[in-house]
Amino acid sequence: MGVAFCRRPELEDPVLIASWPGIGNIGVIAVDALRGMLGAEKFAEIEPWDFFYPSRVLISGGILRQLEFPGSRFYFKRTGRKDLILFVGEEQPTDGGRAYAEGKKAYHMANLVLDVAEEFKCGRVYTSGAAVALTHHTMKPAVWAVPNSVRLIPEIREYENTVLMSDMDGGDGQGNITGLNGLLLGVARKRGLDAICLMGEIPVYLQGLPLSYPKASKSVLEVLCGNLDIDVPLAKLDESAEEVERNIEEFYRQIPSQIREQLDRLKYVNQARPAQPGPITDEEKRRIMEDVEAFFKKRGGGG
């Protein structure tokens, strides 16, 4: 049980970028889109059967031909500078119906991913996920960055459209990154490997909806590609982002006007820019959150 390699590519000073599904699938869409745009090639896969229940069976002519499991695959791309290893997990390994990985299985998977990173002498690991934020879906999502080492903070401060947790309005650098997108950071720290989690903002009122949020994936990729000097046509993500936006607008119109008016005010919340006070007070923000929560609670899910 471990990692099955179909080849072992020669890589130059590689960086690992990993992601698993989470809220809005922001991270996994970003990494998978990057894989597609770069034409990265598969070279290894984590053997799935101890982590996952099968996802699909194919029976034909009365014979069980194939049993498929959620994939956990490694891809590589030589760039001529820092080569890339991309890891895409189709599912987080969970026990007992939890939404996100935790416990032994998660820890084991994180270690397997980092075993590959270390085998190929990766100097840096990136993970990606979602940051649930007081923002509006018409706004460009910012990217929240969490490093696993203090020496990475000055570098992050140079990233475009990126904030640290301590930059949040009223924030003190505290928070949680749920599941493997976060756990990998911790396990990398334990191994002395530099890692940064980049989280694209998703509006708080969309976090429980069964939708992807590629607009935030694009924000994440802009930061990643800018930092790693990767040239890919990110506009390719715009089409899916626009389609999702149309669905969001449709949902948004169904929200009672009183709540919608409150949510509209999120266009003016600048949560990540405390130095520039917005037109909404903390008290108003609190009230917006209460109204939003009450609405989704009454609606019986989501939010």
Binding site: M1, R56, I59, I63, L64, L67
Partner: protein
């Protein structure tokens, strides 16, 4: 990562070669439980091993069903004269692959199991008066070939629909084939209104096949009598409740019932049968 959880073997049945029959306790129409019970009863099955639940079940207390405290059970019996190993269990709540391998470890290492038969109910919209078919999904071409002399529907095409997952039976079949144990997954359609009770006809269908395939020489006189009794009960339910008769009549004509009518039929039949008809 897979931890080894060998089954607890109480004594070695000393089988040179065996076939393994697997049924799950919570199957529709009580098929898994009844089929494995029947084999053990008729073939003098002796319990010889079990899989400890601690690695595979939450064990946060006990479930209570029909006034009784229940506990996950995963037990092996050997019917030594017939080279048969019977395993009945609840399906594990976690580590399913580890669990299935523990089952196969016991069967392979202590009973030299060469073939697997796993039993499952397929809850369907047909009426109980429709003759039961037995669907077979083999793990290999060779296994399919070996089964073509039996009365089986053996040309099924199926793909897991989006949002659903494969059955434990497919998982077990795949795990067995992976270690070189050929197998077949047997499925009997069970009328939905008998899924929460017992479907003796379905049980008879599966046992009939196993009897023929494994040369068990079972006498089904008792089961046939039970089938007649259940059919009589269902006929009485139809006479007593014109609505039930109407619903079942429509199912016999391949017509669909509404969700509400389905629920009503289940309620009426379960109530009637549980009161002894």
């Amino acid at each position: 990562m897979r931890r080894e959880h060998p089954g607890r073997v109480h004594w070695n049945p000393g089988l040179d070669e065996s076939s393994l029959v697997v049924g799950w306790s919570m199957d529709g129409g009580n098929l898994g439980r009844r089929t494995t019970d029947y084999l053990n009863r008729k073939l003098d099955g002796q319990e010889f091993a079990e899989i400890e639940p601690e690695f595979f079940f939450a064990l946060g207390g006990v479930a209570v069903k029909d006034d009784l405290a229940r506990f996950p059970e995963s037990k092996f019996s050997a019917c030594r004269e017939h080279g048969l190993v019977v395993f009945r269990s609840d399906f594990p709540e976690s580590e399913p692959y580890g669990f299935l391998n523990s089952v196969l470890d016991v069967a392979e290492q202590h009973c030299n199991t060469k073939e697997l038969y796993v039993v499952g109910a397929m809850v369907g919209l047909g009426a109980h008066t429709t003759p039961r078919q037995l669907f077979a999904i083999a793990s290999s071409e060779e296994m399919k070939e070996a089964l073509n002399q039996y009365d089986l529907v053996d040309d099924l095409d199926y793909e897991t629909p989006p949002g659903e997952r494969p059955t434990p039976n497919s998982f077990l079949l795949w795990a067995a084939e992976r270690r070189g144990i050929p197998g077949v997954s047997l499925w009997v359609p069970i009328p939905f209104y008998l899924a929460g009770m017992e479907d003796v006809q379905a049980q008879r269908k599966v046992l009939g096949f196993l009897d023929e395939r494994l040369a068990l020489k079972l006498d089904f006189g008792d089961l046939d009598q039970e089938i007649r009794a259940q059919n009589d009960q269902l006929a009485r339910a139809r006479s007593a409740f014109p609505q039930v008769d109407d619903y079942i009549g429509r199912l016999e004509s391949n017509l669909r019932l509404s969700d509400e009518e389905n629920g009503e039929l289940v309620k009426r039949i379960e109530s009637f049968l549980s009161q002894g008809g």
